[in-house]
Structures are given as structure tokens and as C-alpha cells.
Symmetry: C2
Subunit: 212 residues, 2 copies
């Protein structure tokens, strides 16, 4: 009932390829499988196969399939958050806070459009409860990042006062949904990412009450 936590970076033994190659391989395989088949296609067998190991091996590294997913999920979301944050910081010079806000969400959108399946999986696809809980948590974090930026803009007098939390959630959700059309497997139109992102920028500025 203990174990479950593999070497990680070890401290006892000597050379170890670092972080157990197989563990990482499994994580990667899982991401790949999810990316092009969704969670539905991500059976233990499928993942193990892709990673080039036997099903049982997965359980040497993760207590359960769910746990693997949770880890995968966290990694993916953290990466997204980092990139979004970074993009905001990348708006230096005379950029306004509203510019930063717009940039954060445009980044979110661009990346989503670039990896539709994964985004779908992160945002909305059916999953086990454990992962779903994680999802809620991360949505909140996305919204929180947006909320911070929004708050700053308001404090700077760039925007009218408003319910920051709610607007932030609505922005994240709005962008997400606007993306779902283009993203979803059934989408027929498939408009150019540029147009979508442009429209999203407009949407964001309007939604927060920015009068250009």
C-alpha cells in the first residue's frame, strides 16, 4: 500500500537513467494516445502498447490508470499556464494591461487550435472523477490568471469596475467554447486559426468593457 512513488530523482542508489525512462515513456504514450483518440481510446492496453511495454508494467509506475491521467493532466495544464503567463510578460514596453489580457487569451486560443484533440481532452472530454476534479481545479487556475490580469487593468483605470471572478470565468469559458466549434472532430468549416484568434481578441476587449 505504500511504494507507488518511484525513484523520481533517487538519493540512495547510483546511476539511474533519471526519473525512470519507462515511467516517462508511459506518460508520453498516454498523451499521444489521448491526443489522437481521446480518453476513450486510452485503455491501459493501448497506452502500454504504445509505450512498448506490457500492461502490467504500468502498475509498476502508477497506482492506477487514473493516477497516470492525473499526472498527465497536471503536466499539460501547467505547461499551458506557464506559456500563457510568459506571453503576458512578453508584452513589455508601453503595452497596457488590457493588451496583456488580450494576449493571454489569444495565446490560449492559438495553442488550443494547434492541438485540438489535446485541448478537447483538457477542457471538456469525459473522464474519470479523479481527473475531472483536477480539471475543475485547473479551470479555476486559468480563470485565476485571467482574473489577476483583469484586476490589474481595472486598478490601472483602463477598464470599468466589474465582477472580476465571474468575468474571468466567462472569458475562459467563452474562448473555450468559441474554440470547440473549430476544434471538435465534427467541425466541417474549419476557419483559419488567424480569423478565430482575431475574433477572440475582439471578443475579449469587448467583454471586459474596453472601448477601443
Amino acid at each position: 500500500m505504500s511504494a507507488a512513488t518511484p525513484p523520481l530523482l533517487a538519493g540512495s542508489s547510483h546511476r539511474k537513467p533519471a526519473g525512470s525512462g519507462t515511467r516517462l515513456r508511459l506518460l508520453t504514450a498516454a498523451r499521444e494516445v489521448v491526443e489522437d483518440g481521446g480518453y476513450g481510446a486510452a485503455s491501459v492496453l493501448a497506452i502500454a502498447d504504445r509505450a512498448g511495454v506490457a500492461a502490467g508494467t504500468l502498475y509498476r509506475h502508477f497506482a492506477s490508470k487514473e493516477e497516470l491521467f492525473v499526472e498527465l493532466f497536471r503536466a499539460a495544464c501547467d505547461r499551458e499556464l506557464d506559456v500563457m503567463r510568459a506571453s503576458a510578460d512578453g508584452v513589455p514596453a508601453g503595452g497596457s494591461h488590457v493588451d496583456r489580457l488580450e494576449t493571454v487569451l489569444a495565446t490560449f486560443a492559438s495553442r488550443a487550435l494547434a492541438r485540438p484533440r489535446l485541448t478537447w481532452a483538457l477542457l471538456a472530454e469525459p473522464v474519470d472523477p479523479l481527473v475531472d476534479a483536477e480539471r475543475l481545479a485547473y479551470r479555476a487556475r486559468y480563470a485565476s490568471l485571467v482574473a489577476d490580469t483583469l484586476r490589474r487593468a481595472i486598478e490601472a483605470g483602463e477598464l470599468p469596475n466589474q465582477d472580476v471572478e465571474l468575468t474571468a470565468a466567462a472569458l475562459v469559458g467563452g474562448c473555450g467554447e468559441a474554440l470547440v466549434g473549430p476544434i471538435s472532430p465534427l467541425s466541417d468549416a474549419e476557419p483559419s486559426p488567424e480569423r478565430v484568434v482575431a475574433a477572440i481578441r475582439t471578443f475579449v476587449r469587448g467583454a471586459v468593457g474596453d472601448r477601443r
Copy 2:
């Protein structure tokens, strides 16, 4: 392999309680179970129990569990759409198209807040592929309703020109997401519906570029 389609309104035989009471009872039971336990809790057994019949009976009326869900889903969504449409028509007199737009989404929000579980199920909860497909279709319909209203407002010169489809999707998604916080089982805060709806009205007007 045929059958599956029960009496409905009959045409052959004589008196029949109309539409088979049991069928309806099953539909209702299913909705109830979903409303307070989500799809996860809605096993064939649970539904049948609630309806006061045996599991096998369900298959006298529906080809499969999925089919029952699809029907349930359609009924629920259609009802919502009707109410939303009606609410728009309820803005008579000198009301602007933007007023109508705002009303439609406020109605959406109010109703969602009143029946959190069901809304969650309709909007985002994990389901079988068949139902999920239905969900996409209905989301599109919601967005379409919003898009129509939005388009009219633009044509009337009340709003600046914009990507109507995308904005509509973003509005629906934004409202949905803004609602998820208050709605979700984990929500701690639980702000008053009034405040949420008010914030949503503001959000909508801004998002479409309405300068009050």
C-alpha cells in the same frame, strides 16, 4: 431487430393510456436520477427502480440505454430553447434587439442556476458518444439562437459588425462557464443568482460591443 418503436399514439388498436405510461415513467425517472446524481448514477437498474419497473422493462421501450438518454436529452434541450425563444419575444414594446439578446442569455443563466445538476448534465457532463453527439448539436442550436438575435441587432445598427457565429458561441460558452463555478458540486461560495445574472448581463452587453 424492428419494433423498438412503441405505440406512440397508436392508430391500430383502441384505448391505450396514450404514449404508454411506462415509457414516460422511465423518461421521467431517468431525468430525476440524472438531476441528482449525474449520468454516472443513472444505471439501467437505478432508472428502472425509480420508475418502479424491472430492468428488462426498459428494453421493451428503448432499444438501448443510450437511446433513452438521447430522447431525454432532446426533450430537455428543446424545452430550454423554447423558453429562451419565448423570453426574447417577451421583450416587446420599445425594447432593442440588444435587450432581447441580453434577455435570452439571462434566461439561460437563471434556469441553469435553478437546476444546476441538470444543466451540468446538459452542458458538460461525461456521456456516451451518442448523447455527446446530441450535445454538440444542441450547443450549436443554442448558439444559433443567440446568433440570430445578434445578427438582427447588428443589422439594426445597434451593434458594430463582427463574426456573429463565433461571438455567439463565445457568449454561450462564456455564460456556461461563468455558471459552472456556482453550479458545480464543489462550489463553496455560491453567490446569489441575482448577482450572477446581473454580471452576466453586463458581460453580454460588453462582449457584443454594446456601449451603453
